[in-house]
């Protein structure tokens, strides 16, 4: 139970690291940092894989896999949206 709980925390923490590092990489146009961001997402996926062998019920595992898939596009989508939002109004079509 303790291990499962800590894995759940790590799962979200890695999502946060992925999101934050993705942004830093875009801001600095740093490819290495972008790789580190992807590495965090891979760690999140590994955490999800470990959670699959815990005693959690099937539906919670399915939910974790679904949310793992949902976490991947959040930073790029949010970033693109923010960039479009920050275009000065006079430049908007």
């Amino acid at each position: 139970m303790v291990a499962t709980s800590l894995l759940l925390g790590t799962f979200v923490l890695m999502a946060g690291c992925y999101g934050a590092l993705y942004c830093f990489a875009r801001l600095r146009r740093d490819r290495r940092l972008a790789h580190v961001a992807v590495a965090c997402y891979v760690l999140q996926a590994i955490t999800a894989a470990l959670l699959m062998v815990t005693a959690l019920d099937f539906w919670w595992k399915a939910l974790l896999l679904a949310s793992l898939a949902a976490y991947w596009p959040i930073p790029p989508l949010t970033w693109r949206f923010l960039e479009r939002l920050h275009i000065p109004e006079e430049q908007m079509p």
């Binding site: 709980s5 800590l6 759940l8 925390g9 979200v12 923490l13 999502a15 923010l82 939002l85």
Partner: protein
């Protein structure tokens, strides 16, 4: 400055005073854990804990109200309607809080009669204030609602932020009414009581702080209205979409139907998703402004708010929100760890950021910066991280030894309280509590002094250059 903004400064002063009482009560409550018999029959744990959590609610509420009174006249370009009444209500609010605190400290409890409910303690966690004081809070909030709505109507201008704020004020007021009924069925009472506690904190307050942060970002970074309003709408949609039915995670073990296990687990698991979006937004804003701002303390407290919300609410919440885990963690120090981190991240940091913004304007300073705010920022956040880490260790030991191994018996509870991991965690919580208290002292020193000297020198500079004014 508008009169409403002077009132806001009074609210901020009261909020910071209550913040200090909260810290002091927290230190006393954590000492109760470390030293048996500490202040026994004089100031028991039940009282210090009540003071700790009630002052937390009230200082944040005062911070929110102060923030709105600060931004309202700027947003609507006119003085707040009924500001004189609001000033009277502020003093009534302060006197009521002081009387309730004195009753909690000196009277403490009474017989199981209506009289106790009216004048001593209503006995429900977070809303222990006796009924007369609860009526006072309703009156204060009603006047606050009137101020906001009447000002918007008189100004003939309802911005997107104002529209969201005004709609949010309805549940802010309405849900508090659940503090009144005394239902004798425990499950039923808890069912409705969570509407107040959860829906205030994870819906109404989230939106309120969202509105306040939107107004703050416009002032702090000059972000355009189009951007903050669009982001606010998205945040409102996501927070309400996950937060309202996330209420279910409180319904797991209070005698409600079992479908709440599924509903609560599902929507709580979705709650970190919008928080990740907020982290991305915070990094984006910080990066595009190259960390340059005229108000460094406010800027860093806003960043702390975004990250603290994600870590405290998202990471620490997700660790224990699924029912299979929550069965073991519910009501342990693990929950306390999450509660401390989430409240601090989501609300405490945001209110402090707004206070720094207000001080910059009130003291007419171009560039607000100091050494003391860095110390307070470091001490407060280190203290908080240390406390939540220590409580996490204690909570894990409770969940393991008391719940999983001991089967939640009274004997297992006592055994877990003496477990070395639990004890060390509790001691370290007190140590980091002292670090947090030191941060509070630095914060107060800084708030009292920041910008004053510079404001004086900036005022004198043109006179010196151009001769006597």
């Amino acid at each position: 400055m508008f009169r409403s903004q002077h009132l806001a400064l009074k609210y901020f002063a009261a909020a910071m005073t209550l913040f200090g009482i909260m810290v002091l009560a927290g230190l006393l409550a954590s000492t109760h854990y470390v030293q048996d018999g500490f202040l026994l029959n004089k100031l028991d744990f039940s009282i210090t804990k009540t003071l700790h959590i009630d002052t937390m609610i009230i200082w944040l509420l005062m911070g929110f109200i102060g923030s709105v009174y600060w931004f309202l006249p700027v947003e609507l370009e006119r003085e707040t309607e009924g500001v004189r009444l609001a000033e009277v209500m502020f003093w009534i609010f302060c006197v009521a809080v002081a009387i309730v605190a004195l009753v909690f400290i000196f009277v403490q409890y009474g017989p199981a009669t209506e009289m106790s409910l009216w004048f001593i303690n209503q006995g429900r966690k977070y809303v222990e204030a006796p009924r007369w004081a609860a009526i006072g809070i309703v009156a204060v909030v009603l006047v606050f609602v009137y101020n906001v709505v009447a000002t918007a109507i008189k100004a003939g201008r309802i911005t997107g932020i104002m529209a969201v704020l005004m709609v949010d004020l309805i549940p802010l007021f309405g849900l508090y009414l659940i503090a009144f009924p005394s239902i004798t069925n425990m499950s039923e009472d808890q069912y409705w009581w969570w509407w107040l506690v959860h829906l205030w904190v994870e819906a109404t307050w989230e939106i309120l702080i969202g509105c306040i942060m939107a107004l703050a970002l416009m002032q702090l970074l000059g972000t355009s209205r189009r951007i903050v309003e669009t982001w606010l709408y998205i945040e409102v949609g996501l927070v309400l979409g996950t937060g309202i039915l996330g209420l279910g995670h409180h319904y797991f073990w209070i005698g409600t139907p079992s479908y709440w296990l599924g509903i609560g687990g599902l929507f709580s698991a979705l709650e970190p998703l919008p928080l990740l979006g907020m982290v991305v937004h915070a990094v984006y804003d910080a990066g595009t402004h190259r960390m340059k701002t005229t108000n460094k303390p406010a800027f860093f407290w806003v960043l702390a708010e975004a990250f603290g919300n994600f870590l405290g609410g998202g990471v620490f919440g997700f660790m224990m929100t699924l029912p299979q885990i929550n069965l073991f963690t519910h009501g342990t120090q693990w929950t306390v760890s999450h509660g401390h981190f989430a409240f601090w991240g989501a609300y405490g940091c945001g209110i402090i950021a707004v206070i720094y913004l207000a001080l910059q304007k009130a003291r007419s300073v171009q560039m607000l910066d100091s050494v003391a705010w860095k110390w307070s920022f470091a001490l407060l956040n280190t203290g908080m991280l240390g406390m939540v880490g220590a409580l996490l260790v204690s909570g894990i030991s409770q969940a393991f030894y008391e719940r999983a191994m001991g089967g939640s018996t009274l004997q297992a509870f006592i055994a877990a309280q003496n477990n070395v991991w639990f004890v060390q965690g509790i001691v370290m919580r007190l140590v980091f509590g002292l670090v947090f208290a030191a941060g509070y002292v630095m914060l107060m020193v800084d708030l009292l002094r920041i910008g004053k000297r510079r404001a004086v020198s900036e005022t004198l500079a043109p006179r010196v250059a151009g001769g006597p004014a």
